[in-house]
């Protein structure tokens, strides 16, 4: 019954340990081939696998809701968001780096609409949380990064690159969308953290963690490009993306576990049903 979330957590841990070993080998030998191999094969496959799992589990969750249910469209939007991420990951796997970033804003926009519906559901049920002053500590760095990105890349003259204007404009939307997602994630966290650690709460906390990790990864990339990060932290910031990917798959895994537990009477039947996942 608890199988899938545990498998996701354990495989992420295994991957992170492998990444750590590759990083140590690189640091000790000075040869970057280990870290390159890690990111090119197990790393890339993990991204695709996690996105694939998110898409499949989210569609299954959406299918288990009836028409008219408040969160059914939210789960379809989350599944669509996963689908866009999966497309980007597959293109990246096959070396089509030019097109893969285009899917990121599509995925974020879809996720933002999905989470908006979740927040509406929290409000309707009287569990809507409020932003606190301490939240600005989390939102602040991402906003600063977004403003810096716009000032140095978007608004700076002579920032024309070889990419088309559609690609450029789409890539600019990623950071503002990430700010919106981060605010939504904090609100969801504030709402569900009041409940405790049940399966539903864990599902939405996983999405929150995924968005936090994405923000951290984005800020890490920015700090890296500016030369603010020391080498060990630089390598660590690349690994944050695996945590984000795993957390995006973990959310629907908890939701599906909860829904199957509620609909299937017999514990063995639940286990069998879940084993199909």
């Amino acid at each position: 019954m608890n199988g899938l979330p545990r498998v996701i957590v354990l495989s992420t841990l295994a991957l992170l340990i492998t990444g750590l070993a590759a990083g140590l080998l690189w640091w000790q030998t000075g040869n970057p081939v280990w870290i390159r191999l890690f990111f090119s094969y197990p790393g890339a496959l993990f991204f695709v696998g996690a996105s694939l799992l998110q898409v499949y589990l989210s569609f299954r969750c959406a299918a288990l809701f009836s028409s008219g249910d408040l969160l059914r469209p939210a789960w379809f939007l989350i599944a669509f968001s996963g689908l866009a991420r999966l497309a980007g990951d597959i293109l990246r796997l096959f070396g089509r780096e030019t097109f893969s970033p285009l899917f990121s804003p599509v995925s974020m926009l879809s996720l933002a609409f999905g989470l908006y519906r979740v927040l509406r559901a929290c409000r309707q049920n009287g569990i809507f949380g409020q932003l606190r002053l301490s939240d600005s500590l989390l939102i602040g760095p991402v906003v600063v990064y977004t403003v810096d990105f716009f000032a140095t890349v978007v608004l700076a003259s002579g920032s024309q690159s070889a990419t088309s204007w559609v690609q450029r404009v789409l890539s600019w939307t990623s950071d503002p969308l990430l700010c919106v997602l981060l605010i939504q994630a904090i609100l969801i966290r504030r709402s569900v953290a009041n409940m405790g650690w049940g399966l539903i709460a864990r599902c939405w906390i996983s999405f929150t963690a995924a968005i936090f990790a994405t923000s951290l990864g984005d800020v890490g990339l920015w700090a890296w490009s500016k030369g603010y990060l020391p080498p060990p932290l630089e390598t660590a910031s690349w690994h944050v993306w695996f945590v984000a990917s795993a957390a995006f798959a973990l959310g629907p895994a908890y939701q599906l576990q909860a829904m199957l537990h509620a609909t299937v009477d017999d514990v063995r039947a639940t286990a069998e049903e879940f084993a199909k996942v």
């Binding site: 009836s66 249910d69 408040l70 049920n125 009041n194 537990h261 509620a262």
Partner: protein
């Protein structure tokens, strides 16, 4: 904080008074801010009348049992829902034995803090039949209609 909300409900369109204020209004507590909001907000007026009707029906001798049940259920719902917001009081998070099945389900799906809050607010001594409809909207929202109905049936079956 409630005063600020009342002030806003009087002046800002889309802002509504807290459910506890409507309960107070139904109990005969007359606050001018509530009265002026009710004059122009049909939604709150309807809710306030529903609460007032349930409260007055409680006192009618002819439908005593049905009205009392309706009023109790409504009051539990209001209390449970109004206590869900805000940080949890750690000291009050505890498991009680009166309603283990429902409490366990709430804890399993949502968490011990929510289970404890509903438990504290919803006075379990009023009976299982009253409390299941209170928690059902939460299950319906987050698990879906089908799953919530099956869960409610399982819980009702287990407690009868």
């Amino acid at each position: 904080m409630n005063g600020l909300r009342l002030w806003a409900a009087c002046r800002i369109p889309g802002m509504h008074p807290d459910i506890s204020n409507l309960l107070g209004w139904a109990d005969g507590e007359r606050i001018s801010a509530i009265a002026s909001h009710l004059k122009r907000c049909g939604q709150c007026r309807q809710q306030a009348h529903l609460i007032a009707d349930a409260a007055s029906a409680k006192d009618e001798v002819s439908n005593a049992d049905r009205s009392k049940e309706m009023y109790d259920r409504l009051q539990i719902q209001m209390q449970a829902w109004s206590c869900l917001r805000g940080p949890a009081e750690r000291g009050r998070v505890r498991r009680r034995q009166q309603m283990p099945r429902l409490s366990e389900a709430l804890e399993f799906y949502f968490g011990i803090e929510l289970a404890s809050r509903i438990e504290n607010a919803a006075r379990w001594d009023t009976g299982d039949a009253n409390v299941i409809p209170v928690t059902k909207p939460l299950f319906t929202t987050f698990l879906g209609k089908r799953a919530a109905e099956m869960l409610a049936q399982k819980l009702a079956g287990a407690t009868t």
